[in-house]
């Protein structure tokens, strides 16, 4: 992927976060995606989210597979190690990376081809392992880099640019995640950054696998009239299920608790849901699945933080690994030494 370095000229006095960094310090190279691509909005939202959470750039590890979406890690947080890997395998690589160093913040960016076709097996198993990471699917319902084929998330009868309808039923990453036991499941829309920002921030604060399906229109191949993943369609049909506030410092969360569902996060943050539908609880998986099933309609794109479970142990807690990163354990603690080998071999005679 080609990339162009962004000039770093401070034009105005910018807001600084707790680390004294400005939002520009979290940017990456200039995007080479098409003008108006939904993915660029997602990139900008990620930049804003990590800036607001004041995560040190070098404590972020950003990974991707192959596709338009997978180019984007080059475009945010230049101070973080990035890994643009191979098609569909990103989350396996992220799992290994996370196994080696549990202290970093892992951001995986993927697309509908990467996650729902070639890499769906890896995604399913990363969900089962509850790898502590933010996993974004920049979902445009189309293969962009290969010029417009249907993807596994294309809706039935949504048409290609040439007008042919898609006949195969779509795979919904949200229902996939919920059915496999993902511990954080959300959907956002790249055209609605105000709503996407808290989703991404909450996903980063979550301990465990945070799956966010982001409807992110492809201006080149899937933004036409017959598409159900166009800007226009999504704008007109987005239905926000919930309204929540993320308090980074949970102890000082203000406002009224009345009638709200609150979730305390391991990171110390607190999620407070307001104005939930009567028959829906985002901390109850069965309720979330039932609600989404009931409201599945061709003319509604539900968005929101559908489900969150802070209690489930993540990969490291399941495996009872040491609390420091495995990469930080000195060799002396790893190698049992000559006398242990001598002793062990008494059972080999």
């Amino acid at each position: 992927m080609a990339s162009i370095t962004k000039p770093l000229i401070p034009l105005v006095e910018l807001e600084r976060n707790e680390l004294g960094l400005t939002v520009r310090d979290y940017e990456g190279a200039m995007s080479t995606l098409c003008a108006g691509c939904g993915h660029d909005s997602v990139t900008a939202t990620i930049v804003r989210a990590v800036f607001e959470l004041a995560i040190p750039p070098h404590m972020i590890s950003k990974l991707s597979g192959i596709g338009c979406s997978s180019k984007t890690p080059a475009y945010f947080v230049r101070g973080a190690h990035g890994f643009n890997s191979v098609h569909g395998r990103m989350v396996a690589i992220a799992t290994g990376a996370n196994a080696a160093n549990r202290k970093l913040h892992y951001i995986g960016v993927s697309g509908d081809g990467d996650s729902l076709s070639i890499g769906i097996g890896h995604l399913a198993h990363a969900i089962r392992r509850n790898v502590n990471m933010l996993y974004l699917i920049e979902n445009n319902g189309v293969y962009g880099l290969t010029k417009g084929q249907f993807s596994a998330s294309t809706d039935v009868n949504s048409t290609s640019k040439r007008g042919e309808p898609n006949l195969l039923p779509p795979i919904d990453p949200v229902m996939l995640g919920l059915s496999l036991g993902a511990t954080f499941v959300a959907r956002g829309f790249s055209g609605n950054k105000e709503h996407l920002l808290p989703l991404i921030k909450a996903g980063l604060e979550h301990t465990g696998f945070a799956l966010i399906d982001v409807i992110s229109p492809c201006v080149q191949f899937n933004d036409h009239e017959g598409s159900t993943k166009s800007y226009l369609f999504t704008r007109h049909h987005e239905v926000q299920v919930d309204d929540f506030t993320l308090f980074q410092d949970g102890i000082h969360a203000n406002g009224s608790d009345d009638g709200a569902v609150t979730v305390s996060m391991h990171s110390g943050a607190l999620l407070r849901f307001r104005s939930l539908p009567a028959d829906y609880d985002p901390t109850d998986r069965a309720s979330a699945i039932a609600y989404l099933e009931r409201h599945k309609a061709p003319d509604e794109v539900l968005t929101g933080l559908f489900y969150v479970n802070e209690a489930a142990p993540d990969l490291h807690e399941l495996n009872k690994t040491v609390t420091e990163p495995l990469v930080a354990v000195p060799f002396e603690r790893l190698c049992p030494g000559a006398s242990a080998l001598e002793e062990l071999q008494k059972s080999f005679v």
Partner: protein, 619 residues
Amino acid sequence: MKTETRTLPSRDDTAVRVNDCALKLANVNGTGSASANTLLMKAIFRMGVPVSGKNLFPSNIQGLPTWYEIRVNESGHTARATEYDLVVMMNAQTYADDVREARSGGYVLYDSTWPLSPELVRPDLGYLGVPLTTLCTQNFAAARERVLMKNICYAGAVVALLAIDPKIVSALLDETFQRSTRLRESNQLALRLGYEYACEHFDCPLPFHLAPIDENAGKILIDGNTATALGCLYAGATVAAWYPITPSTSVMDNFTALCRRYRREAVGEPGPDGQVQYRNNYLILQAEDELAALGMVIGANWTGARAFTSTSGPGISLMNELLGLAYYAEIPAVVVDVERAGPSTGMPTRTQQGDLLLCAYASHGDTKHLLLFPANPAECFEFAVKAFDLAEHFQTPVIMLSDLDIGMNDWVVPKLEWDENYVPDRGRVLGEKELELLGSFFRYADEDEDHVAARTLPGVSEKAAYFTRGSGHDKYGGYTELPREYQEVVDRLAKKHAAAAAHMPPPVVERRDGATIGVVSLGSCDPAVREALDLLADSGLPLDFLRIRGFPFAPEVRAFLDDHELTFVVEQNRDAQLRSLLTIETGVEPAKLRSVLVYGGFPLSASQVVEGITAQLEV
């Protein structure tokens, strides 16, 4: 090349032979025979006699034929034998075949509870009928026990027939069943039943039998997969990812057991219940497939951990994509390939050396990998450690090619030694302080004499950050599609691969006076080839020997080929893959290399090597 026809000395059928015999034990799998067979093998080992045990088992859980072969040889030749002095027939399904396997003048032992069909009687064999079923039915009550104890019962008879020290066998049973008085007593009884029956009814010992010597001092009995797991443990591997596959599964089973023993750390004070809390300084991931397994290994290595996977041929096929990524993006990875017979599913429980070319050039585009070829469990241990050093030094995948014969059979090898002064070669990794001194960091720009550029790890500093990619990149790590920039990087990779030759384990060379012909081989061929070379030298044909232990080939390999007018390449695959690799990589004249190929799936025997060489030298 013309030489006179040679015949090897044939054996006297009836002469007394001490510490030189071969046994074949024919069993039904899933009936508990393995414990009886390893009991015999271990007892012989403890008598100080060189021994090997080869398990020829089916890809099945219960009910199919399985064989165990024990070769005893005072001179230390313990490759698979093809002539059996004693065949223990415990599987009526294979009686006819098993009777044929006994050498003329040899013996068969069978369960005489039922009569042997007359067509199974060969006039040149001795028949040793032991009423195993009757003995066990009379002495054991439970149905399962009656079946299991037949195995220990025939072991008892073999102990008497071969003059194996019964005290050693008895002690081994006590050790095995130290936790259960009941099992200990029933096993000891079964052993005694067989032993006493044989002593009463046969002239014990047989003309070929054992006598204690002292050849096994300082040696151990170990299979290659256990040794590999130990190597990974000692190398400091913290992350392992794998997908179960025969015959490599026991690498990770053993690694898991070893980690539970050596890698758990007590944290904090014991709780109110007195229970100590443990934390693990390892993480083993059973992946969804081999692609994910290698992906995890790459992710962990990229982040700075020593990580490995173990697999077999079908897994390597799947890992091709990610091997290319690790090669091009220059990420260390250790892959253990315990080879089995291919292609496709092939024969999962049979041995072969058929993954050589696949591993050497795995993945699309121009790729070349570092390969290690252990020949026995001792080298599995040594090379597993070496694999991590090489992978991190050269920032590239290292594949260690073991095979089923090495990996799953017990071998007698010198006791493993650990050098307390060992310091892992973590390669060129820039830390925070080194980065501070650096103006700016570019991933592939600063190459050393081995054509390796320094890398950085995530989580260290912003200055260290770079973008790893499997797409075209220039030496700064930036994306490129420009021919010059692209070639600069891939040309360095070729030079880096070539530079690794000097770091690989050097070949083992054994020269004989007067030899003009060479023999080159690798891996588990070693004991059979060395035995064959002794036999050929005894018959007047001295040959030089070189065993390859790594790829890229050390300079000695080409020199050896140049030194000999003709070289035989002995390997266990159909297509002469080592010969091809030698031809491609050393530029040697192909006509100078002749092949001896054995690839039916059973471990190599000296006789196959002798025949393969002499057949091509005869007029």
